[in-house]
Symmetry: C2
Subunit: 350 residues, 2 copies
């Protein structure tokens, strides 16, 4: 089959790889119908590692961790899925049964792992062997519906991650929220905050197409200023004190500093931008102001069943973050376009 | 009157200062009956600043922020207190009426401040002018009771701070807790965790007298090892994963690293040790494991009414952290003894 391989900085290729096959009885094979490129895929694409050991792999690496697909084959212990089922895969696999999964923290599953790691297929290919298939895959009750597929695909990662930012920042009814970052995760954070009942959602961003989508998703204010100037503007908009909930959706030292500046005393920062910073700054400042720093990798598998009804019933359209669709063979063009901020998020059709 | 002045590193003196007098209608004058020395007083004593601007003051500075006393005089707007009332003062003053106080975050009161700052008396003296007296002081319903006074005094700061660590780390019924630090705050954190229903409380410490008191307060395990070895021991004691709640009660880079190592994925660190570190480390590690970092300066004014009944009715004895009592004139000996870890916490009688 064909799959995407990262050869090195700015060098992504679609190549022939071995067809996936069942290895253990808890596996399933899924034919990928929809995949996409994640902002976090751009870090290794740019040569910046975010593997657990912080390195860019020396050898070509399978990549991609968001996909919808159709079950082709199941191992003998996979009872709740059958050939032909349409499924969404969260961006990590998990058994849905260990102590962490039972608490809803599927990203820390003791039998879990990530796509595109050693011996595990990446999501940007024609098919994937899914470990822990019964625990990992969520069956879509209505089967395939092309009108909904973009939004369903966002449950794999980007919308679940925006939701995690909002949950981690304690967004609820009547909240005032600042979203740092106008990428697809930030926009998802806006939609998630609105969905959770926030009264006021301030997006920090300056790309008109993106901030317009943020407003469509419920943003009440747009702050184009950055850094200290942006923080000052946030303070002005929030009675001088900042917002109780701040969603950090970028992952740089600058964006984290902005989040620290924008948060109200007693408030929370939900950080979901994969961290490229080496420290969390201003510990005395956040200490004096009792700021909580929360978040991390989103346990999408926990959130998918909770978010699915709103997508299936059309109450939210998180798939609007996709502004380009490409064939798998053209995926390097998708990386380039996202890297250059020409495209917000690219959907890929194998 | 006499009061304590910090002249410079390891130079604390009791000297004559002007008697306090009412300045505005919301003030009260309190005659101090019991005060004490805080671990955080030792930072400036050692020449390490923890004023908001990070400096040790150049001029002699009034010091002390924990006291019990008797109301001597009240301003015209102080209606709920009268001469002779026995009161406990939290370690910051606050109006108990602004948006932050109404949320229970009295340390961020818009009209609040700290003792021993410019124009405000310190607690280690014979009397104190209390700004925002009605919002700040908590009247003790039973009046003065010498048997309880040590425990009542801990509500000013040390026990309220231990409680804040536990609340910030989400300690509740059945929790597994690690307490980093066997100082008076750490021991208070043990007692607070037990009081909140924790099943298992592991204290990290190696001073026998202190760890014995920790066990008296409910600690189930003592880990004398430090650093990586200490973290390994914690992991062994907690099924390999660490504890869901970790109370950081020291404030050094080492203790914070230990806290990060000891916390379970999805868990929380409640940090109450006044931070002498410049960054919060390992942001990728805590991100991958969804660790929440919370805590800060404890809103003691919020907690005092909640903790008071257990003290008054003798269910808890947080005052056991005091292991020495000195006259005010001898306070420099108290600083020396705490600095050299000869005394755990020193009570001072003006």
């Amino acid at each position: 089959m064909k799959a995407t391989l990262l050869h090195g900085p700015e060098d992504v290729r679609v190549e022939q790889v071995p067809d996936p096959a069942l290895r253990v009885s808890t596996d399933a094979i899924v034919r990928v119908t929809h995949a996409c490129i994640c902002g976090s895929d751009l870090w290794p694409y740019r040569g910046i590692g975010l593997t657990p050991d912080g390195d860019v792999p020396a050898e070509p690496q399978r990549i991609g961790h968001e996909f919808l697909g159709v079950v082709e084959e199941t191992g003998s212990e996979v009872n709740s899925l059958r050939q032909g089922d349409v499924v969404v895969a969260p961006f990590t696999f998990s058994d849905d049964d260990c102590e962490f999964c039972r608490e809803g923290l599927h990203t820390s599953c003791v039998n879990g792992g990530g796509w595109g790691s050693a011996d595990v297929d990446g999501g940007q290919g024609e098919a994937v062997r899914v470990p822990q298939a019964e625990g990992t895959l969520v069956k879509l009750p209505g089967g395939s519906d092309e009108a909904l597929s973009a939004s369903l695909l966002t449950l794999s990662d980007v919308f679940s991650t925006g939701h995690h930012a909002a949950v981690s920042a304690s967004v609820g009814l009547g909240s005032t929220v600042v979203v740092v970052g106008d990428g697809a995760v930030g926009l998802s954070g806006v939609l998630a905050s609105t969905r959770l009942g926030a009264d006021r959602v301030i997006i920090m961003g300056r790309h008109q197409r993106r901030t317009e989508l943020a407003e469509h998703f419920g943003a009440t204010d747009v702050v184009p200023e950055r850094g200290a100037e942006g923080v000052e503007r946030i303070r002005e908009l929030t009675g001088g004190h900042g917002a109780s909930s701040v969603l950090e959706c970028v992952g740089t030292a600058d964006s984290l500093s902005t989040a620290v500046g924008a948060v109200r005393a007693g408030g929370s920062i939900g950080r979901v931008g994969a961290p490229t910073y080496e420290n969390i700054p201003q510990p005395a400042e956040t200490f004096l102001r009792n700021v909580t720093i929360s978040g991390g990798v989103a346990p999408a598998r926990n959130y998918i069943p909770k978010l699915l009804p709103d997508v299936l019933e059309g109450r939210i359209q998180p798939g609007l973050v996709f502004d380009r669709t490409l064939e798998l063979d053209d995926i390097s063009e998708g990386y380039r376009a996202m890297h250059e901020r020409e495209a917000l998020k690219v959907l890929v059709r194998p």
